[in-house]
Amino acid sequence: MIITKDLTKKFVSYKKEEGMKGAFNSFFKREAVEKFAVDHFDLNIEQGEIIGLLGPNGAGKTTLMKMLTGIIVPSSGTVEIAGHSPWKREKDFRKKIALVMGQKSQLWWDIPSIDSFKLLQKYYEIPDARYNEKINMMGELLNVKDLFHVHVRKLSLGERMKLELMASLLHDPQVLFLDEPTIGLDLVAQENIRQFLKDYHAQHNTTIVLTSHYMADVQALCPHLVLISGGKKSYDGSLEKFENILGHKKSVYFTFNQCIDKTDDFWKTQDVLFSENCDEVELKLDDHEIREVSAAILNKFPVVDFHTEKMPIEKVMKKIMENPEILSGV
């Protein structure tokens, strides 16, 4: 569905020198600085996949997304989506895709969303019956029917985001690009959006490319992850494999009501990390060990709380950002 080969985007900017003199100098002689925002990027996404595009700020996610949607023209390399070159921006291509940007409203600000929907109906040439059906169905699913006639500028961010999603799905796109769709939303709203996307994908088998800094989004939605850093692809594979980059062991945490004895023989056989005031430990355990070891600790020490790691992906991401070399062996 989406194939890129050696896709590259190079930006040229000009160095600005400091102060008046600098400004004067650079007016006449500018020093060009080339930056590869996306550097020889290969990608292959199958029809119906949901992929999570991850990477720190400035890694090139958004640039890649812009090239995939045809908003900017690649410097070199090829990209093909549903048989089209996006940068040619053929109308047929534009009817097949949709883009939702968490940071930027696509609905017209000064009019109610229903007017925007009607406009999009005409733009995408959606038959009336289909349009009404979609509006009703999604309006109910997202619980936003009462908001159709409210001016967009008067909506809360969460409400607006739901309507943005609706607007982008009216024409049944084959590929949906979501650029940080849950940014700035409260936990309940995030959860609603995730659930909606999950259900929608299950029904329509739309190919979805998602970027997000919230690992909960990625964990809930994306079985396939692509990591980009410094414009280059540094990981492309399953979520499961990604979570296991730091090893197969699970982290299990125990909290005690007092400082415990670090020198106890029990700990000697374990891969263990003590907190500073020794009332908390983190153990790395294989799946089959968890039951046995936990039971032993619960019996032996004054445990007040224990839990396993909820989102290993978050930890992996953090480690990778601190130390990108981790990935070189994968």
């Binding site: 930006f11 812009k66 045809g70 921006r89 930027k104 017209w108 009019i111 009607k118 733009y123 650029d179």
Partner: protein, 265 residues
């Protein structure tokens, strides 16, 4: 057929957007021209008050005021559309949405412009009715009025192309407002909106004939006033300028879009 529906719906939406803030909209489109008219009224009153029965290049005081009342009408219809601000759209990366929709950026803006123009025409007719009730609307013939309005509408297309041109430059320049202000000031002066072109030196006038400026204000005023104007020449010249700027705009768009970085997406 489908494409026509897209245009019609865009025009309808543009009305909703323009009138979302009604008072603001009304003041914005009528306020500046009205103020400009009163400044010119005062200016010419004091010039003419110096000498009884003064006639400047064939204009007595009443004719001069007549000229400027029509100038107000022309400015309203032909050059009302200044709200267009493509440059901000481009610089802030706001055009991304239009690049995604299967309806082009220029189509969206042009349809919005047409929507604006229809509203503007209504408001101008309303203000002419008010002028007429106040007894300050100059005499006119029905044919003069119809010719005048159609001439202004045609000029407005060219004015729109010119505005679009300055907007396109935002692909290359960080700021374009200064350019737009310069264009506005030059246009006001050279088109005869402040001083009728008869008062310009003959040499300057003959050079101006080769520019689009006299066609923006001076000739439409003359048409309203019922003066003999070579219509074929008038429409011919505007058509040529319109074609030139449309071609430039389309070229600039193609070049510019390759540079577009969609800041912040």
């Amino acid at each position: 057929m489908n494409n026509l529906q897209k245009w019609v719906q865009t025009i309808k939406i543009s009305w909703k957007r323009y009138t979302a803030y009604r008072l603001n909209f009304f003041l914005q489109i009528i306020g500046p021209s009205l103020i400009f008219f009163f400044i010119k009224y005062n200016l010419w009153s004091s010039i003419y008050s110096g000498e009884e029965g003064l006639v400047i290049k064939g204009y007595d005081f009443n004719q001069m005021i007549t000229y400027h009342i029509w100038s107000f009408v022309v400015a309203q219809i032909a050059q009302g559309h200044t709200a267009l601000n493509l440059s901000i759209d481009i610089r802030m990366g706001r055009i991304s949405s239009y690049l995604i929709y299967p309806f082009n950026f220029w189509e969206f803006h042009t349809a919005s412009f047409l929507g604006f123009q229809i509203l503007q025409l209504g408001i101008t007719c309303l203000s002419m009715t008010v002028f007429s009730l106040l007894g300050i609307l100059p005499d006119f013939t029905l044919s003069g009025m119809l010719y005048g309005i159609s001439a202004c509408l045609y000029v407005s297309l060219f004015w729109y192309a010119l505005q679009y041109f300055t907007g396109m430059l935002a692909f290359w320049l960080e700021e374009t407002w200064i350019l737009r202000v310069i264009l506005q000031v030059i246009t006001v002066f050279l088109s005869g909106a402040v001083i009728p072109l008869e008062l310009f030196p003959e040499a300057v006038r003959s050079v101006l004939e080769y520019t689009p400026f006299p066609y923006l204000t001076y000739y439409p005023i003359k048409i309203f006033m019922g003066a003999p104007v070579d219509m074929l020449n008038f429409y011919g010249v505007i058509t040529i300028w319109l074609a030139i700027f449309t071609a430039i705009n389309s070229y600039l768009w193609k070049r510019g879009i390759r540079l577009y970085t969609a800041a912040g997406m």
